[in-house]
């Protein structure tokens, strides 16, 4: 199984969720994060003091998925998250060794 970590622009989250849902992928965990990359932060000025806000708001989506769904999922995320502008984000795929559903104790494929 694979662990997809996708960092995207916040307002694309709903699109991505829908795109994944249409593939039958419902399970995901989302968190608010701050990102830094090519797209730099911005400067806020408070009474003449400049504060560079180096990090921009992003949303991180984590999805455990089976190998067979992986490519479709990646494609769906990429398409739904894309605005074509800098800062659209990244997708990382990591290996999972084990998955457990807390409620039932089922593991791996059955746990999703």
């Amino acid at each position: 199984m694979k662990y997809i970590i996708a960092v995207i622009k916040p307002h694309r989250l709903e699109h991505v969720r829908e795109a994944l849902a249409s593939l039958g992928i419902e399970g995901m965990t989302v968190s608010e994060v701050k990102g830094h990359g090519r797209q730099k932060g911005h400067t806020e000025v408070y009474r003449g003091a400049e504060y560079v806000v180096n990090f921009l708001p992003k949303v991180k989506i984590e999805i455990a998925t089976t190998e067979d769904m992986l490519d479709k999922a990646l494609e769906a995320i990429q398409e739904a998250a894309k605005t074509g502008q800098i800062g659209d984000g990244k997708i990382f795929v990591l290996p999972i060794e084990k998955t457990i559903r807390v409620r039932t104790g089922e593991t791996d494929r059955d746990a999703l």
Partner: protein, 434 residues
């Protein structure tokens, strides 16, 4: 020259003639005006609201999140402490007859308010109301100073400092201007406290900022205001409450109070727009913090002038104050390089000085009885200048000494670790959980 002083002297005369002590004599009953009393009761509530929650929020929104409770606690604790100290000695020092030393202070003859019988009338209102109204001024003035040393002072030392400062600096200067002292006699115009409250607090703030030194990370770390929503609420309540501050300083619900309210509103609005426009032009965006800072600058600047200028004078005064305080909180601060965290000096000090001087310029005989520069009385500007200088010099020296003595005895600053972890938890054991 000032309504407050007038009132005081009048009451003093009555007291001297024994009338006030004579119990519920008919003569006194006749003096109390319920309308004036109603307005002064209200004004007292309004000025209290300026400090808590007004100033507590205004400052609380501007610090980093880890210090928000500690910052608000300063205003709250000061409210409690000054109340008790004002009752014990402050009111006596400021508003009693100091005998041979009356030019400088009022003495301790009215300590614990022993002279304040229930039916004692002061002008046309109960002395209890006048005492409490003035108490709210003795609360907000120290509270204003806390903006200068926010995010780094020990709570214990802060309390000691504020207690001493109120008794040694605030109460005597109040006496000088409103209590029968030498500045009032010299003809300094200060309707509601431009000198007594704002220059005083601003200068004390500046001295504190120097003595305490900069916050760790100042100029490098992100010290952006954590939640300007709080500051907007605070500035709004300051604005609303300031009607009690300025129109209340007429100590009556009369035409003087009415005009004071009108010019306060106009100058404040003008200063908010003026700061906004200057910032918009120079920095490209009209910030919310600028808008509310401009309003506060206008409130500060109109304070000494509010019983003396007309609407058009207030408009111009406000426009000037907004622009000058913009410079005070941005240019001047960076030039001088101190860390006046929340611009106690940049807004209250600078705004107070601008207001005190412009009072001498725009005062109109038809409004407050005294003409200013625009009506040909250039001397008034000079008198105003004297008042400013006397206040700055005494306040700066006394504040410096008080701080240094406290520093020697118990220290002023929290430890480096406490400052990094934040004062909410390290000083008060609490945090905001959301």
């Amino acid at each position: 020259m000032m309504s407050m002083k007038k009132l005081k002297i009048f009451a003093g005369a009555l007291a001297a003639s024994g009338l006030l002590m004579a119990g519920p004599a008919l003569a006194e009953e006749a003096k109390l005006d319920t309308g004036n009393t109603a307005w002064m009761l209200t004004s007292t509530a309004l000025v209290l609201m300026m400090t808590i929650p007004g100033l507590a929020l205004f400052y609380g929104g501007m610090v980093r999140k880890k210090n928000v409770l500690a910052t608000m606690a300063q205003s709250f604790a000061i409210t409690a402490l000054m109340t008790v100290l004002w009752m014990i000695a402050g009111y006596s020092i400021a508003f009693s007859d100091g005998g041979s030393l009356n030019s400088f202070w009022g003495g301790l003859s009215n300590a614990f308010l022993v002279d304040m019988t229930k039916d004692k009338i002061n002008g046309s209102i109960p002395d209890s109301v006048f005492m409490t109204f003035q108490m709210t001024f003795a609360i907000i003035t120290p509270a204003l100073i806390t903006g200068a040393f926010a995010e780094r002072m020990k709570f214990s030392s802060m309390l000691v400092f504020m207690g001493l400062w109120m008794l040694i600096v605030y109460a005597p200067i109040t006496h000088w201007v409103w209590g029968g002292g030498f500045l009032g006699d010299a003809g300094v115009l200060d309707f509601a406290g431009g000198t007594v409250v704002h220059i005083n607090a601003g200068v004390a703030g500046l001295v504190s900022a120097y003595v305490l030194g900069k916050r760790i990370g100042f100029g490098q770390e992100n010290m952006a205001p954590h939640n300007l929503v709080l500051s907007i609420i605070g500035a709004s309540l300051l604005w609303v409450g300031w009607f009690g501050f300025n129109a209340g300083s007429a100590v009556a619900a009369d035409t003087s109070a009415g005009m004071a309210m009108a010019v306060t509103q106009i100058a404040t609005a003008a200063a908010a727009l003026s700061w906004m426009i200057v910032e918009w032009m120079l920095r490209g965006k009209p910030s919310v913090l600028g808008l509310i800072s401009g309003a506060v600058a206008g409130l500060v600047a109109i304070t000494p002038a509010s019983g003396f200028v007309d609407p058009t004078g207030a408009l111009i005064l406000g426009l000037i104050a907004g622009a000058v305080c913009f410079w005070g909180a941005t240019g001047l601060k960076h030039m001088l390089g101190y860390d006046d965290s929340l611009d106690a000096f940049g807004v209250h000090g600078v705004g107070g000085i601008v207001g005190a001087l412009l009072t001498g310029v725009f005062a109109r005989k038809a409004i407050g009885g005294t003409p200013g520069l625009i009506e040909g009385n250039a001397a008034q500007v000079w008198v105003q200048f004297e008042g400013i200088i006397a206040t700055i010099v005494y306040c700066a020296i006394a504040t410096f000494i008080i701080l240094k003595v406290i520093d020697m005895i118990m220290g002023l600053r929290v430890s480096k670790e406490q400052e990094i972890e934040g004062l909410d938890f390290t000083l008060h054991g609490e945090t905001v959980h959301d």
